[in-house]
Amino acid sequence: MRAAAVAVALSCGYPGRTVLEGIDLELREGEILALIGPNGSGKTTLFRTLAGDLDPIAGNAFLDTAQGLKEARFLPRRERAQIAARVLQSERPSWPASVRQYIEAGTFARTGWFGTPGAEERRSVDDAIAAADLSDLAERPVTELSGGEFRRVLVARALAQEPRLLLLDEPAADLDLGRQMDVLGLLRGLAAAGKAVALSVHDLNLAALVADRVALLSRGRLAALGPPREVITAEAIASAYGASVLVGDHPLGDLPQIINTPPWLLDGSRG
């Protein structure tokens, strides 16, 4: 499998504050990678650096361009945006633009300051709307959408960038169960269509359900990387999160699923 992004001995963070050190990681096409780790472990910082929005402190973050691997920080902004698309957790719309107009912003990297989206860009917007199942909402103002609908709009806009890699910050957070499965199903479809997909996720069971590989960030390092079964273990979770869990199997597949075993259950004071 071809890698869309490669981190080599990558250290990232902010002036005076290194968040992650020594990260070696490949984001491969056709694969979903789930980034897990406690609050503040550097999931968003890693995405920023991989996409070239933040310069590495040491090491390299490469993106796969038509001319081979290039360091993300040295690529022109618009070229970067055509390789890696990000979906942010905190984005809120400022104006009541229609869903279609909002998604059209994804074509900016190809059209630039003065360009108007042409037939080709309109087609990629239409395709993105169809892929994210937004056809019925296309003319609705984005300010009137529910949280789950708006999250799908953000994924559709990322698709309109026609990237090879999607980096999604907590795409399932704040969504109800049904909407979570909608978004994760959409991501599975994108990976099946050959995109490299990486998402950060707090819910370890969701990570196990959706991801081909899981990367655990803990104490400024990549503590574990591999299939869900190998990474999501009781020992690793206890060490990274300081939480006690049992790891069982999903009834329908060879997937780990965790069950919380907090102290007040273990000492028999409840239950």
Binding site: P15, A51, D53, R77, R78, R80, A81, Q82, A85, R86, L88, S90, E91, R92, P93, S94, W95, P96, A97, S98, R100, Q101, Y102, A105, G106, F108, A109, T111, W113, F114, G115, A119, R122, R123, D126, A138, E139, T143, R157, Q161
Partner: protein, 352 residues
């Protein structure tokens, strides 16, 4: 072509109609402002007077010709240029700050202009260009200098949110310059009345040279704003998202601030400190054409121009022969409308 579905075309048609309505309102405001004044002139006579200088031999009342051509037309057009610049400047700054309540004077432009104007009066500076007053020239320079200082201060330090720093620096430097203006006026009261009327804004006595002096700054500002239409649309997603979509956020911010400051400087130097036009123009424009900047910016220029011409016509008619400062009219009408907008939308700006 895959073609946009019918609703998309309908939205585009609606925006087209909105632009048309904005231009009609502009034309109606211009014509109305020619009829109104201390001596109202019938619309037919205004038409004849307008035509008489274009079509030779057309009979028209010579007094009406003089009033329309020498007094009202130039004055209305100065108000139109100032209003267009303010409307456009407001739309750009609101796009940059992602907030419909942002004001073109947020960058300290009005205080800088006031200091320039009051300084010119106090120091009795003679105009280097005979046809343009030193007050107009120095207020223009003062406005741009204030914006430049605000911009430099906001970029100092390790601010993670330079856009917010701009607003805070604008507020602080604005009130500092305002204090300097008050200080000068306290010690030098010879021109108290002129200062008073300048600060409240007005187009009394404005003529063709004033128009030609105001046009360059306003035109450059509006052209720059039109060039910023798509980047400002992208900025609506927020700075981090805009950057990841491929937009150079820093360059967009610099050009938006330049465009906005230049437009506000052109307007203030032409007509003094006139409030609320830069807020209400874009608001009306959004109602007409929606929030896409490609249509919002020209529409804001049209509605801003119309609003200020109407306000100026009212300022010289309602208490004729006494002329009200136009800033009083825009504030008396604009502030309540602004409050209504604030209550309906909440401070974050997005419709509740």
């Amino acid at each position: 072509m895959s073609g946009s579905p019918a609703p998309a075309r309908r939205a585009a048609a609606r925006a087209g109609i909105g632009i048309g309505v904005a231009l009609l309102v502009f034309a109606a405001a211009l014509f109305g402002s020619l009829c109104l004044g201390s001596a109202p002139i019938a619309p037919g006579k205004v038409l004849a007077a307008l035509g008489s200088r274009i079509v030779p031999g057309l009979g028209a009342d010579p007094i009406a010709v003089t009033i329309v051509w020498e007094l009202r037309l130039a004055r209305s057009l100065v108000a139109a240029v100032a209003g267009a610049a303010l409307g456009c400047s407001g739309a750009v700054l609101q796009g940059l700050f992602r907030n419909p309540l942002a004001d073109p004077y947020a960058l300290g432009v009005s205080s800088g202009a006031s200091l320039g104007a009051v300084g010119a009066l106090a120091l009795r500076i003679a105009s280097p260009v005979a046809s343009v007053g030193a007050v107009q020239a120095l207020s223009f320079v003062g406005a741009l200098a204030a914006a430049a200082i605000v911009w430099s201060v906001a970029r100092m330090g390790h601010s993670r949110a330079p856009t917010v720093s701009l607003l805070l620096a604008g507020a602080a430097i604005g009130s500092f310059l305002g204090a300097v203006v008050s200080l000068i006026v306290t010690f030098d009261q010879r021109d108290l009345q002129r200062v008073f009327f300048w600060l409240l804004g007005g187009f009394g006595g404005k003529s063709w040279p004033d128009l030609f002096a105001a046009i360059p700054g306003a035109v450059v500002s509006i052209v720059l704003a039109l060039a910023l239409a798509r980047p400002l649309d992208i900025m609506g997603a927020g700075e981090e998202a805009a950057s990841s979509l491929g937009l150079d956020v820093g360059r967009t911010r610099a050009l938006a601030v330049s465009s906005s400051a230049l437009g506000a400087a052109a307007a203030v130097s032409a007509g003094g400190v006139i409030g609320f036009v830069g807020l209400l123009g874009p608001h009306l424009a959004r109602l007409l054409v929606g929030s896409g900047h490609r249509k919002l910016i020209p529409a804001s220029a049209a509605t801003g121009a119309a609003l200020l011409m109407i306000a100026d016509a009212a300022a010289r008619s309602v208490a004729a022969p006494l002329e009200l400062p136009v800033g009083i009219v825009t504030a008396l009408v604009g502030a309540p409308l602004f409050l209504r907008l604030l209550i309906r939308r909440g401070p974050a700006g997005v419709e509740a």
